[in-house]
C-alpha cells in the first residue's frame, strides 16, 4: 500500500497520460514499452478491443514509434498530474490570479471580526455586558474593524478603569469575533460568612494563645486546649443568631520523621541524552521517524512529550508527534560519617514537618528527638511548634438559617450569668 502511494505520488508529480491502445499487437506494444524502460501502469481491457494504460506524459513521443512498430494505434483519453495542471494554469492566468486574490481576501477577512462578545466564568452581578461592550467600543474594539487597528492592551486598561467592579479583563480575537473575558471583583463584604449564620470551630488540635471576638460569643479562653471540631465562638450574642467572626491564634505542633543511612545508593544524571520523534494516531499506534525506539542507556530517565500537529489555526492532523527524551543516569553511592548521617536524618525530618506547616503559620520552636543512632541507620523525629489561626467558620444547616425570636430580658440575663 505504501509502495503504491509513493508510486501514485511520483506519477502525479511527473504528470501522466491515460491512453487507449487498439490493435492486434497489444502484447508487442507492451513488451516494446518495457524494453524501452518506459513506465507503464494500470493496464486493463476497457472492452473487447480497447486497452487503457497510464504512461508519463513526457514519453508520448517515444510511444508513437512503438505504436508504429507494433502496428497499434493509441489515443489520449485523459491527462493528470502537476506539470499538466501547471500548463493548464499557464493558459488560464486570470483564473490563477483570481484564486490568489480570493485567498488573500479570505485571509484579510479573517482579521475583521463580525461581532464582539463578552464572557465571564461566573454570572455578573454588578456589571452589565452592554456596559463592557460600550467601553470596548470607546477604545476602538468594534465589529467590522480590522484587528490590526485594535489595541487590545489599552482597551483592557480602559475597561478596567471604566468598571471598577471588574478585577481582570482579557481581550482576544477568535474565529471572526472578538471575545472580552471579564472577571468580577469579589468584594470582601460578600463573603459567605457574612451572609449565613454559623459558628467558628477549631480546625486543628492546639493551645489557644490569643482570641479576639468580633461577632458572637467566645466558647473558649486564652490558654484552653482545644481539639479539632470543638466550638470556639458561638454564632449568637444571646439575643439573636449571627455569623461568628473572630481571630483565634493557637499553638499547633507538627511532627516530621527523617532517617538516613551511612551508605546510600541513588541515581544522578550524567548529561548524556538522546531524543526520538514518532507519530502516534488515536489508536496508540506509533511510527518512529527518527531516533531510537528504546533507550540506548542501561539506566535512564525517560520523558514523553506529546505535541499536537497543527497545520493552520485550528486545523489539526489526526496524528500527534511524540518527542521522547532519554537522559542517562548512573548509580551513585553516598557514604557519610555518623555525624553527617545524623544531621541529614534531622534535616529530612525538619523538611517533612515543614511541609505540613501552613503558609501563614509562624514557627515558634522546634524540638529534635533522636530515635536511632546507628550503627548504619540514623532516625530522628522533629516537632515544630507553630502559631496559626485555627478558626474555621461553619455555617448552620439550611433549616437553621432563620433568625430567632428575641429572647426575653430575664432569660438573657440568666444566660449571661451562666
Amino acid at each position: 500500500m505504501k509502495y503504491s502511494r509513493q508510486k501514485k505520488f511520483y506519477q502525479w508529480f511527473n504528470g501522466s497520460v491515460t491512453i487507449y491502445i487498439q490493435g492486434n499487437g497489444v502484447e508487442k506494444f507492451l513488451n516494446l514499452v518495457m524494453q524501452e524502460q518506459m513506465e507503464i501502469s494500470e493496464i486493463c481491457w476497457r472492452n473487447e478491443v480497447l486497452v487503457s494504460a497510464k504512461v508519463p506524459w513526457y514519453s508520448l513521443g517515444k510511444l508513437r514509434h512503438i505504436a508504429r512498430r507494433s502496428k497499434c494505434r493509441f489515443r489520449i483519453s485523459g491527462k493528470s498530474g502537476l506539470p499538466l495542471f501547471l500548463l493548464r494554469m499557464k493558459r488560464r492566468q486570470a483564473l490563477v490570479a483570481g484564486t490568489f486574490v480570493f485567498a488573500v481576501l479570505v485571509y484579510l477577512a479573517s482579521f475583521v471580526p463580525l461581532r464582539v462578545e463578552v464572557e465571564s466564568p461566573e454570572p455578573l452581578t454588578t456589571v452589565r455586558f452592554e456596559d463592557v461592550i460600550a467601553l470596548a467600543e470607546e477604545s476602538g474594539i468594534k465589529p467590522y474593524r480590522s484587528t490590526w487597528f485594535m489595541d487590545f492592551h489599552s482597551a483592557e486598561e480602559h475597561i478596567l478603569r471604566g468598571q471598577s467592579a471588574l478585577s481582570w479583563v482579557g481581550i482576544r480575537s477568535e474565529r471572526g469575533k472578538v471575545i472580552i473575558s471579564v472577571v468580577e471583583r469579589k468584594l470582601a463584604n460578600q463573603e459567605e460568612s457574612d451572609l449565613l449564620f454559623g459558628n467558628i470551630l477549631a480546625g486543628k488540635d492546639g493551645l489557644v494563645d490569643y482570641i479576639l471576638v468580633r461577632r458572637g460569643t467566645a466558647a473558649v479562653e486564652k490558654g484552653s486546649t482545644v481539639i479539632s471540631g470543638q466550638p470556639l465562638v458561638w454564632g449568637n450574642n444571646g439575643q439573636q443568631r449571627l455569623a461568628a467572626d473572630a481571630i483565634i491564634q493557637a499553638r499547633v505542633w507538627y511532627q516530621g520523621f527523617g532517617e538516613c543511612s551511612r551508605v546510600e545508593t541513588g541515581y544522578r544524571l550524567t548529561g548524556e541524552e538522546t531524543s526520538s520523534f514518532a507519530l502516534r494516531n488515536g489508536q496508540g499506534k506509533s511510527l518512529l521517524l527518527w531516533g531510537k525506539k528504546e533507550s540506548p542507556y542501561e539506566i535512564c530517565h525517560r520523558e514523553d512529550t506529546v505535541v499536537p500537529l497543527v497545520i493552520w489555526q485550528q486545523w489539526q492532523l489526526p496524528v500527534s508527534g511524540v518527542i521522547t527524551d532519554f537522559a542517562q543516569e548512573e548509580a551513585v553511592v553516598t557514604e557519610r560519617s555518623s555525624d553527617d548521617a545524623l544531621a541529614e536524618a534531622v534535616a529530612r525530618g525538619k523538611m517533612e514537618a515543614r511541609k505540613k506547616v501552613p503558609a501563614q503559620g509562624e514557627i515558634l520552636n522546634e524540638y529534635v528527638r533522636i530515635i536511632s543512632r546507628g550503627p548504619d541507620l540514623y532516625q530522628a523525629q522533629v516537632t515544630l511548634e507553630v502559631q496559626e489561626d485555627i478558626g474555621v467558620f461553619v455555617p448552620l444547616p439550611p433549616e437553621d438559617q432563620i433568625q430567632l425570636e428575641p429572647i426575653p430580658m430575664e432569660e438573657e440575663t440568666a444566660g449571661k450569668k451562666e
Binding site: 508510486k7 502484447e27 507492451l30 513488451n31 518495457m34 513506465e39 494500470e42 493496464i43 486493463c44
Partner: protein, 101 residues
C-alpha cells in the same frame, strides 16, 4: 543426440544450483528464474520475467526463463509493468506454470 543434450543441460543446472546454494546468492538472480509472489487471490507479482506472450480479458500469459506462466481470472489488470517486475491485480482463478527447468 537430444538425450545427451538434455542430460548435459540437467547437469549444468544442477551445478548452477549447487554454486548458488554454496555462495548464498538469491536463486532468482543466480539461476535466472522467476520469483512469483501471490497475495490472496487478488494480487500476483512476477519478478524476473521476460515479457508478455498473450493478454486478454481473462488470461495473461507471461514468458519466464525456460517457460511461461498463465494466469486466468476476471478483471485482470497489469497494475505495474517494468523490466524487473510485473504486478497483476484482479480476481485470480488459476495459475498454470510451464517450465523446462
Amino acid at each position: 543426440m537430444d538425450k545427451k543434450k538434455n542430460a548435459l543441460a540437467k547437469k549444468r543446472n544442477a551445478l548452477r544450483r549447487a554454486m548458488v546454494s554454496a555462495l548464498e546468492i538469491p536463486a532468482e538472480v543466480g539461476l535466472d528464474i522467476p520469483k512469483i509472489t501471490m497475495t490472496g487471490n487478488y494480487c500476483l507479482v512476477v519478478e524476473n520475467h521476460k515479457g508478455i506472450i498473450d493478454y486478454d480479458l481473462h488470461r495473461i500469459r507471461i514468458k519466464i526463463g525456460g517457460g511461461w506462466v498463465e494466469i486466468t481470472g476476471s478483471g485482470l489488470m497489469l497494475q505495474t509493468m517494468s523490466r524487473e517486475e510485473l504486478v497483476i491485480e484482479g480476481e485470480i482463478k488459476g495459475l498454470n506454470l510451464e517450465t523446462g527447468l
